[in-house]
Symmetry: C3
Subunit: 346 residues, 3 copies
Amino acid sequence: MNYEDYLKTAPDDRVKYYQRDDRMYHVMRTQQFDTSLLEELFEIANQIKLMTRKPNGIDFLKSLLRHKKAMLYFTQPSTRTFLSFLGACQLVGMDTAEVRDPSLSSEYKGESQEDAVRVFSSYFDMIVMRDPKPGFCEYMAYYLDRSARSVPFINGGSGKDQHPTQALLDLYTMYRSFQDRGGVSGKRYAFVGDLLRGRAVRSVIFLLSQFDDVEMYFVAPDAFQVAPDLEQSLEQSRVKIIKSGNLKEVLPDVDCVYMTRIQDEYDMSGESGQINYDQFSLYPDDLKMMKPDSIILHPLPRRSEIHPEVDLDPRAMYWRQLRNGLYIRAALMLYVFNQSHRLQEY
Amino acid sequence: MNYEDYLKTAPDDRVKYYQRDDRMYHVMRTQQFDTSLLEELFEIANQIKLMTRKPNGIDFLKSLLRHKKAMLYFTQPSTRTFLSFLGACQLVGMDTAEVRDPSLSSEYKGESQEDAVRVFSSYFDMIVMRDPKPGFCEYMAYYLDRSARSVPFINGGSGKDQHPTQALLDLYTMYRSFQDRGGVSGKRYAFVGDLLRGRAVRSVIFLLSQFDDVEMYFVAPDAFQVAPDLEQSLEQSRVKIIKSGNLKEVLPDVDCVYMTRIQDEYDMSGESGQINYDQFSLYPDDLKMMKPDSIILHPLPRRSEIHPEVDLDPRAMYWRQLRNGLYIRAALMLYVFNQSHRLQEY
Amino acid sequence: MNYEDYLKTAPDDRVKYYQRDDRMYHVMRTQQFDTSLLEELFEIANQIKLMTRKPNGIDFLKSLLRHKKAMLYFTQPSTRTFLSFLGACQLVGMDTAEVRDPSLSSEYKGESQEDAVRVFSSYFDMIVMRDPKPGFCEYMAYYLDRSARSVPFINGGSGKDQHPTQALLDLYTMYRSFQDRGGVSGKRYAFVGDLLRGRAVRSVIFLLSQFDDVEMYFVAPDAFQVAPDLEQSLEQSRVKIIKSGNLKEVLPDVDCVYMTRIQDEYDMSGESGQINYDQFSLYPDDLKMMKPDSIILHPLPRRSEIHPEVDLDPRAMYWRQLRNGLYIRAALMLYVFNQSHRLQEY
């Protein structure tokens, strides 16, 4: 099965390729994570976060995967995701190498990309891949599984497609914030901005929908409201949905405000140009309307949708959310190499 | 206070932002270093240099900051300064990551540079920054100090502005060379070449002026003689100054010759074109005129102002000066993280 | 002696510059390796390979050169060779830094390349160099040997010229494959494809010619048959040679098939365009003709000269060959730093 044929397979069928010995082996799609796996990963991340506060905790963490080497294959530029994965590798002691500029590769010599990636698998024990071609990371994991040398892949984001680790860090931040208040279940979440094309927001909505009694407010311009397929799937999961075009009305009701930016780098037809972004932005004055123990998230980078002064409010969690990416990515690496049980040795 | 407003503050006022608990926290400007701090740093660098000669010394050094991670943010290209900082981080065991190509950043998504740098501060414990915008490194340190997550910054050079670690390694080389001969004080120094625009030479002149009884010879074409503001400040410090247009006359008198190149990459009006560089260059024949225990320095890279055969003379210290950059930068890192006292444990 | 003069020296004379204390110090040319040195290196590589299978073996290996730092100077792009050297450095615990983009260097400031490389030698203990200029790596090793600070160089490939570590890993793969069957001597080898311009294949032919009783089949289009100088040298070494234009005729006779691609990136006159590559390619059907215990090698990257389905055959050794590059390069590093005897401590 070549790349084109692989893309024609049903996404639900593909998930089985990512398992090995009844465990997640490749990290590819948000669909792989049920609440039980999520909670296991979040507990691992909690332990890692705690250990990083003490020098001997850091030493211990760095010993866990010091025998492993990771290739960071980022042919789609992304400084922040790259640095977060690099930081996570360093946290658990993995050596790393990077391929970031496709023009540096040997492809001019007529090599297939399958061969090129197989070369990397020869030198490394794990591949974190961010490639602009949809499904390419998934296909390469499938392809190498059929060779004599397969290594685990982590999808670091592919085009408009999947970006599972972003969704994980978003949900992990909710998990930590609500840990002492009954958890993620039973809370009200507002998702604000571009809900149609934002990859991250679709993924976190899916993950959240697996928890009990969550209510979701979708606050977006009509042109960027949540997609019908996602809405339908939420209804099947019995999630209560409220759509709105007015952020100020929603703010007093919710426990979490998840802000997003309008993705106009994908905007071909110019429709974003006519939207009044102010209605989907958060200003210092808006904070007064919010519950005192609510939280504000944003996958970053932001533009004008959150005023910088909001950063000073204790409910602004987006910088912490960023750091949580380190811990949850490190947790994934320990899980994939089946080393998380060793955290008990500390 | 935004970047533009910060630039309007008086440089002397800014220095207070770089202190924490009465110690230097950010390394920003040459003005931060008085003779007492310089001597403390030079002693740390001496110990580091000694330790690097033995495998167990190297092991010990690498353990000192192995819990820390440094971001090398070099959006102004500079291979040699970058490699020296990287080598210094490796010497004291810090993990590193680098941002070197501004086009790889997420800035195309409309993020502010403040946010971008704050992202890096989330993943790392120290930021070494070389950015072409004057004062930008200083502003970012100030900006992050006002956030919930501040990390120490080291200025790796900014445009025509400050490059404090270069001045430190220059002075450290003088310090080591004169260690057994009464120290840096009471010596005669010739500064040769472009004294007007050379950033490094201005800084080292300032540092040196704090020591007692130094005499300075300024050997330069009229168009590139030392700037009036610097000359005035030296007079206030009671430094004895001799200006000259003739290197050969000066050579027999001095203990140190600090050569520089004409900075014609900043030369817009073409005035460098008409200068006879030979008069401000050092040739093998000139060595006979120099004191037997004098030293020759150069901040490198050089062009034709020092003939390659001069390299073979034992008084040529510029290659050693380069290596001293490793030790003094590593010393700064130990100092900033307040770990230099641990050198005694060895 | 400057670069131009150095190029005029006889290659055989140069080899003496690469020795120190009667041992190989710089790794420059395939001619440096006699059968005794090859066998010593292959035994070191065997031990390294064995150790990498166990966590404490990996720990031990990483301790061997943890006091050393390597500069990977790759101004000629080559992702796979770069990654292999990087992986080898990580295997034996060396810190690394890289220079990969010549435009990032300080050369715009008018510095000579001799000075630039000397800067790197100041910060590092070994330089692995891949530079497009023929003989430049050799010249820089020679040049720095005459300075106060010389460090070992490893030639990572220079233009059409030498690429000694590729030849070593090719021969090491033969060595391992025939280890239980009397060794490399007394076997029949087919070299297929572009034997005229392929740098790797020329080098491996030379190395192999030093072993007893090898027979070589050269299977190539007339325009790309083995060069007269190489043929003559083989005759002097009493190697039995058979030239052929027909791969299918040769396959049943040989113990090893070394496939190469037509190097049309060096092809100025367009002669490669008229050759029927199919005759010099290996298809699944061809495997039936081959001896059951023969091996298939390829220096990679490949294009169409080996059909991907051949990969599944156990005689296809080219992916293993790639991994062998890690072990033999790590072995070279231990040898050059004279640390290979420490493997016995494990």
